[in-house]
Amino acid sequence: MRERSYVVWLLLIALLLLLVINPLARLLWASFQHPETGAFTLENYVAAYGRWRHVEALVNSLVIGVAVALLCTVFGVPMAWAVSRTDMPAKGLVWAAVLGTFIMPNYLGAVAWILMAGPNAGWLNRIYTTLTAAEAGPFNVYSKAGLVLVIACYSFPYMFVFTRSALDLISSEMEDAASTLGAGALRTTLRVTLPLALPAILGAFIVEFLEAIALFGTPALIALPARFQVMTTMLWQMFEFPPRVQVAAAYAMPLLLVTVFLFWLQYRIMARKGYVALTGKGGDRRLVRLGPWRWVLLGYCLLVTSLSFFMPILVVLQAAFARAWGRGFSWDNVTTRNLRFVLLEQTATRAATLNTFVYAAAASVIALVLALAIAYIVARRLVPLGRALTYVAMAPFVIPGIVLAIGFYAAYTARPLVLYGTAWILILAFATRFLPIAYTNSDAALRSINPELEDAARILGAGRLLSLRRIVAPLLRRGLAGAFILVFIPATRELSSAIFLYTTGTQVLSVLLFDKSDEGNFEVLSSMGLILVVVTVALVLVGFRMVGRDFLLRRTAT
């Protein structure tokens, strides 16, 4: 029994190495390679970090990353708590808006935000000047604060979902214990409920941070006109003609150290306390009664989702159905021509739509199976040095998509494994890119299951694999459905790795959208964005149906 499970673990670790270590090793190697001669050199590091401008961009990225992660916590945690643990009304609406936010590609949201908070003509500023008769409005999307807000708007759903699934698993018994000892609802929440969700919140915090510093689309649209650089826009410059791949590789390397540090930190914080809360069936969950405060909380949720979803989608809808979006709202400006063009005339869109969803689904399955296995190996200490696997699984997140794509390209265009030109290179790149999300989620889900449940099964004679299948898998089902959606959605809108790996016949929507973003044709861009959003929403809803309504609305136990 023991041997059989060992083979499975080793195979999965081998796959992990193939997906993560091989491309990263190629990059590491490239970072020490002389561009012409291929000899060992440190010149690339000098070129990458020898200029203040380059270092400054990196500092900007780190500052923005921390600010985004904090803002996401402020946005996401109260909303997750409200939806999971309180009697706040209109939870379905809030959840739907968070889902819509998550599905919206960040570059589409960024364009919408430019229209809303442009300093000269943004709608919000125009409304403000009309109301107050002031000279100029206070909003300026072209600033570091603006960039932080826009990135946070499109990444806080990670925080929301991670926190919410953790809160969903905490039984009210813990809270009851606190109230029995005389704690009020607020105190119970702050001292008992939220701390129990801390592993998930910390995991999400790291994911938000890494997502923010690896993002390319939004900074390209906002940081450049605001006159500052971040790491990814700097990297893009390194791929300009003549491309300096080796310097780019060197520039990206120290980020790995940052990741390692973050996870070490998380480990230290968590190691001191026990967070095991799910100890089997039962554990009833009751909602906290908020009284009038529930309306305040609803107001907050709607405010956040207005920033992230309702207002931007209005802008996108206006443009998608406009003859000329520069003319603003008027009935004679309405047309379905753009949508018809995108759906019927442009054959590329249809093929790309199909590719987008097929690749995203395949990548999600691969990432999830792998992540779960690794998380399990680490959590149950099945192999020596298991903790190192955590770093490996999380590493792809700090590698900006563009660089990951180059690594993939370097690794899989030559024998023995030629994948370039096939759909597989995209699928595997997506799987690798979102492995950290799958991993963080699987890890959080696993941590909340007391190993004693399995131990019981094993004492009764079940093997490792059997107890996995019969005990762990059923307990994780809901968490995994959530993780699947969390990988699937970003995979449908993944741009930066796709752009260097697609070929004729394997185009995806994000690439078509990005090409549109610098063509000045916002009507067609919005139409394609709208199609991506609508189809994804439909698929996700179908997915929820298949998993069971549980996942969407009911907060009762597994």
């Binding site: 401008r53 364009v111 430019i114 229209l115 442009g118 300093p119 000269n120 003509a121 943004g122 072209y142 390209a220 940081a223 450049l224 006109p225 006159r227 500052f228 650089q229 826009t233 410059q237 791929f239 300009e240 003609f241 003549p242 491309p243 003859r323 000329a324 979006w325 520069g326 003319r327 400006n333 442009q346 054959t347 590329a348 390209y409 265009t413 030559a414 370039y420 030109g421 752009i499 260097f500 070929t503 004729t504 016949g505 185009q507 078509l512 090409d515 549109k516 610098d518 063509e519 000045g520 044709n521 916002f522 009507e523 067609v524």
Partner: protein
């Protein structure tokens, strides 16, 4: 006045139309044989940065209509990405792309050096506007197939034609403070060429003054169209084709042909040496220079390169406009230099 001009224009079109149809009747030498050879190859792939994807799609459709049995696949990206992809293919020894169309002149010099292109002198070459012929490679490795202008653009709902800037130096006028939009030479070949030309005309001081106006800097030159439509900026150094296309949809935009000269961009295409479909590629090069191909370009608000095809109403023909342009050598040497200067002056 307007009527006279219309009549003259109509007559000119009619006269050229006659001349043009004579040319079509003669199709080029060995056209049928090339078509047959291309049919055997079934399809070809075209990496292009010359136009937006609508135009690339329309050209492919037009080509397939004219030469049935040969499928045209396009991959439309920015110039840097197109080059990067081809470089990936070449290094991996993958034969994917048959025709490459970049807007960055230095790419062609480099591709020629690296031996990535194969020579072909299109039979339709006599159809090419004379002024563009100097951009062809003497060895036939690449041929001019697209042209466009960088000119002054503005939003008509905020700026009247009388107020609009008339020449490039007007953009540094303090009344456009916070209201000017430009692209970035690090992203766009069009912007790079424009910056080189402005430096040639007015020295780097031009950009130091422009910096005082705090321009909004996008990536592509087409980003200026978005900025103008959003009214975030109201005047810009923008592209002819995309601006006119957006205007034709009803957006409140207009173009000014600057008194000191619209910056002319001529871009070449070439056939890749390891092209999987060399005959289809040759046929396509012919098509890009042909009347039919250029009529499709004009419908998409592009400037034609075939001398007998007139631009669409609303835009002027490049021949009527005062154009300026740095030489190939100036561009090649100048773009890396101005990118660096630009970053120092504008901080990005």
């Amino acid at each position: 006045m307007t009527t006279t001009r219309t009549i003259v224009a109509a007559l000119a079109v009619a006269a050229l139309g006659l001349a043009g149809s004579a040319a079509v009747a003669h199709a080029f030498e060995r056209e049928a044989a090339l078509h047959e050879a291309a049919k055997k190859e079934k399809e070809f792939t075209w990496y292009t940065a010359h136009y937006n994807s609508e135009t690339a799609a329309a050209l492919c459709q037009g080509f397939e209509k004219k030469y049935p049995g040969v499928k045209c696949n396009y991959i439309r990206t920015t110039a840097q990405v197109a080059y990067q992809r081809l470089a990936q293919d070449q290094k991996a020894g993958i034969a994917q792309c048959s025709v490459i169309s970049s807007t960055d002149q230095s790419h062609y010099t480099r591709m020629k050096q690296d031996g990535w292109l194969q020579p072909y002198k299109p039979k339709n070459l006599p159809e090419l506007v004379e002024a563009f012929r100097s951009f062809n490679d003497p060895d036939g490795l690449f041929t001019a197939t697209a042209a466009g202008l960088v000119l002054i653009t503005y939003n008509t709902s905020v700026v009247s034609p009388a107020e609009a800037p008339k020449k490039w130096s007007d953009l540094t006028d303090p009344r456009w403070k916070n209201k000017v939009s430009i692209g970035h030479p690090g992203f766009s070949g069009y912007v790079g060429t424009w910056v080189v030309q402005m430096k040639k005309l007015y020295g780097w001081d031009y950009f130091k003054k422009l910096e005082q106006n705090k321009p909004r800097i996008g990536r592509s030159i087409n980003d200026t169209v978005t900025m103008l439509n959003a009214k975030e900026s109201i005047v810009a150094a923008g592209p002819s084709a995309t601006t006119l296309e957006s205007k034709a949809k009803g957006n409140p935009l207009a173009v000014v042909y600057p008194e000191d000269g619209a910056v002319l961009m001529v871009s070449a295409s070439g056939i890749v040496k390891n092209a999987p479909a060399p005959n289809a590629a040759k046929l396509f090069m012919e098509y890009l220079l042909s009347r039919e191909g250029n009529e499709v370009m004009v419908q998409q608000h592009q400037d034609p390169v075939n001398k007998s095809v007139k631009p669409m109403a609303g835009g002027k023909s490049i021949a009527e406009v005062k154009t300026i342009r740095p030489t190939a050598a100036e561009i090649e040497k100048g773009i890396p230099e101005v990118k660096e200067l630009f970053r120092e002056t504008f901080g990005i």
